[in-house]
């Protein structure tokens, strides 16, 4: 992909993407709706959301791996200037792991239990780059060193079950970095690790991404992590982006009630919690489902209009968008 067209352009542009699953005897269920996201080269965007909000589906639809019977129902994913819908399956297959790489959660379960670390990294190198056996070994060792795995020669022959969670996470990072992709998706990658290891792995990820100018879509359930190194933060709720803003704007001036609840839930101290919650109170009872704003049934600020009319993503400040009829003003 030494495509000249993309110089300076966005590495990824998602335009009004929707993913739907057919439902027996009913309307299809949309797990992603109206997603717009443009990422510049080297940019790190955090995507936060609860379980079932569509985070993983977002990652999978960028990779064109929406599980059957789901399908991309509307919209486009343009990667490095090329509309993914126009590429054939083989071309997209070759892009995965080489141009778009994935760092996953629970890597010990996702690595092949029957292959050594060396074989698994080697597999990716062999199928994407034309390297001979010796070159693969050299490159594999280099990758293991880059992700700070001690004693890489010995780890080469280790099986996944012999690795600790942190080590396995580093191996998965090494696989992601193997072909020097321009875009990496990290899907809840550090969630299984204990806090100190998590901090090490995050720091490593930040360093490797920033040094190489790789773009990173950092998907997580932990809003606190995004504060560390994301340029922008997007909040996903019920398959929609409900707020997206530059990091500082997001943490200083969150607008969507759901984003505020997320922040408050994360906040350790009471003063911070009060700052974010303001005069709203958390924990409204769940109301009936509506055709309007999907968050209305949980929102303390919900009014008749919220239940009737689906809000659009509106620009609140330059680069700061929220999807709310009554955004929080401070």
């Amino acid at each position: 992909m030494s495509d000249r067209r993309v110089e300076g352009g966005p590495v990824l542009a998602i335009e009004s993407l929707a993913v739907a699953f057919p439902r027996y005897g009913g309307e299809p269920v949309h797990v992603l709706r109206d997603i717009d996201l443009v990422m510049a080269p080297g940019e790190v965007v955090g995507v936060v959301g609860e379980s079932g909000s569509g985070k993983t589906m977002l990652a999978r639809s960028i990779m064109r791996l929406v599980p059957v019977p789901g399908r991309i129902d509307r919209g486009r994913v343009v990667f490095a200037g090329r509309d993914m819908a126009e590429l054939d399956a083989e071309t997209i297959r070759r892009m995965r792991g080489r141009d778009i790489a994935m760092i996953i959660a629970n890597p010990r379960g996702e690595l092949d239990p029957l292959e050594t670390v060396g074989q698994q990294i080697g597999n990716v190198l062999r199928h994407h780059l034309t390297l001979d056996r010796a070159a693969i070994r050299v490159r594999t060792l280099e990758l293991l060193r880059q992700v700070s795995i001690p004693d890489p020669e010995r780890r080469l022959d280790a099986y996944p079950h012999e690795l600790s969670g942190g080590m396995a996470q580093r191996v998965v990072m090494a696989i992601a970095l193997a072909c020097q992709p321009r875009f990496i998706i990290s899907d809840d990658a550090t969630s299984g690790l204990d806090v100190t290891v998590q901090a090490q792995v995050l720091e490593l990820m930040r360093k490797l991404v920033v040094e190489r100018g790789t773009s990173l879509l950092f998907i997580t359930r932990d809003i606190g992590i995004t504060a560390h190194f994301c340029d922008r933060v997007a909040v996903l709720f019920a398959g929609e982006i409900v707020e997206i803003a530059p990091r500082h704007a997001f943490f200083a001036d969150p607008r969507h009630p759901y984003a505020i609840l997320l922040l408050a839930a994360y906040a350790q101290n009471e003063r911070l919690r009060r700052y974010w919650l303001g005069d709203t109170t958390a924990g409204a009872a769940e109301g009936p489902a509506t055709t309007g704003c999907p968050f209305a049934r949980r929102c303390v600020r919900a009014q008749d209009r919220c239940r009737a009319e689906h809000p659009r993503l509106e620009e609140m400040a330059p680069g700061h968008f929220a999807r709310c009829h009554f955004p929080v003003e401070r």
């Binding site: 995965r96 379960g109 597999n123």
Partner: protein, 335 residues
């Protein structure tokens, strides 16, 4: 080294396991009504004669004593005599056990050759001709009784088409069997350079092997397909896909991970068919071990039955040891 220690440990338990199996079979067989002495002497026997024979056979002793005497003989390599064939059980089994082994081994190879590829294809291509074929195959193979299927094959290929030899044993009567080395007619006639016997034995094997193989491909297919499906949907396959590995590489990984299940089902079928092929053996007058044991049970001829149990138990233990060694080779987590 670790491996040798493991095998050694396993072998340590073989003897007690065999004694246990023999004890249970001995007791169960004694529960079956039927007096060998009456069977042996026939309807005109005198009470006196019966009593004498019972004493000779040791039938007047307690069951425990009888078992210990039997066990003592077994340890010396004496499995007793069958009163039906009037031959030592070891001699009978030396001929019949290999007959069954040859049949079952070839049948399972055929079953593997059908079941594994079809199962893989069925798992990989969720719709299409191969998937439909796999589904219907599994259904029919599971529903057809093997002896009936054998009779159908005989009717079609022997009676109608006359392309196979008659279903009467392992060789035509006119063919001189090769000297026994392994007991497998194919191997022995090849060793003896007796090509006529080889061709004839192969001809006789075709239908019974096809019968057992085609039927038992069913469970192998089902196991392969369901395990492959699970592996292809598992996290590591999804991850391999995300890494952009080609489909065939992903399928190969899934197959390797599915292999232990396939090995397991084959080993279970193998142990089962040693005795379970008996109906097919009868249909083809195969003269195999299962037939021999059933004859023993029906005629209160205990020694052949116990001999059969002992041989199959040893074979099963060997098979399970092999299975464990295969697991060892496939899966690093078991090492």
């Amino acid at each position: 080294m670790q491996l040798l220690a493991y095998i050694g440990r396993r072998l340590l338990f073989v003897a007690p396991q065999l004694v246990g199996i023999l004890l249970v079979s001995f007791l169960l067989l004694k529960l079956i009504p039927g007096d060998p002495a009456v069977m042996m002497l026939g309807p005109f026997a005198t009470d006196d004669g019966l009593a004498r024979l019972r004493q000779e056979l040791g039938l007047d002793r307690t069951i425990l004593e009888q078992f210990l005497i039997y066990l003592g003989n077994v340890v010396q390599g004496d499995l007793g005599t069958s009163w039906q064939t009037t031959l030592p059980v070891t001699t009978d089994l030396a001929q019949r056990f290999p007959a069954t082994l040859e049949l079952v081994t070839l049948a399972l190879l055929l079953a593997l050759a059908i079941g594994v590829p079809l199962g893989i294809a069925g798992a990989r291509y969720k719709r299409g001709v191969l998937r439909t074929t796999a589904d219907y195959y599994g259904l029919f193979a599971g529903a057809l009784p093997d002896f009936w299927f054998g009779l159908v094959l005989i009717f079609v290929f022997y009676t109608l088409l006359q392309v196979v030899p008659p279903p009467l044993g392992r060789l035509d009567y006119a063919i001189l069997p090769p000297a026994t080395v392994t007991g497998s007619l194919l191997i022995d006639s090849a060793l003896a350079g007796n090509w006529q016997a080889l061709r004839n034995a192969a001809g006789h094997l075709i239908l019974p092997v096809a019968t057992l193989g085609l039927i038992n491909a069913g469970p192998i297919l089902k196991m392969t397909q369901s395990t492959m499906e699970r592996m292809l949907e598992s996290d590591f396959s999804r991850y391999a896909e995300m890494c952009g590995l080609p489909d065939r590489v992903v399928a190969r990984k899934a197959l390797r991970n599915a292999l232990p299940s396939i090995v397991t089902i084959v080993s279970v079928l193998y142990g089962f068919l040693i005795g379970g092929a008996v109906l097919v053996e009868i249909v083809f007058s195969w003269g195999g071990a299962g037939q021999y044991a059933v004859g023993g049970v029906l005629n209160a001829d205990l020694n052949p039955v116990l001999g059969f149990v002992l041989y199959s138990a040893i074979l099963s233990l060997v098979i399970y040891l092999l299975v464990d060694l295969i697991y060892f080779a496939i899966d690093p987590r078991t090492r």
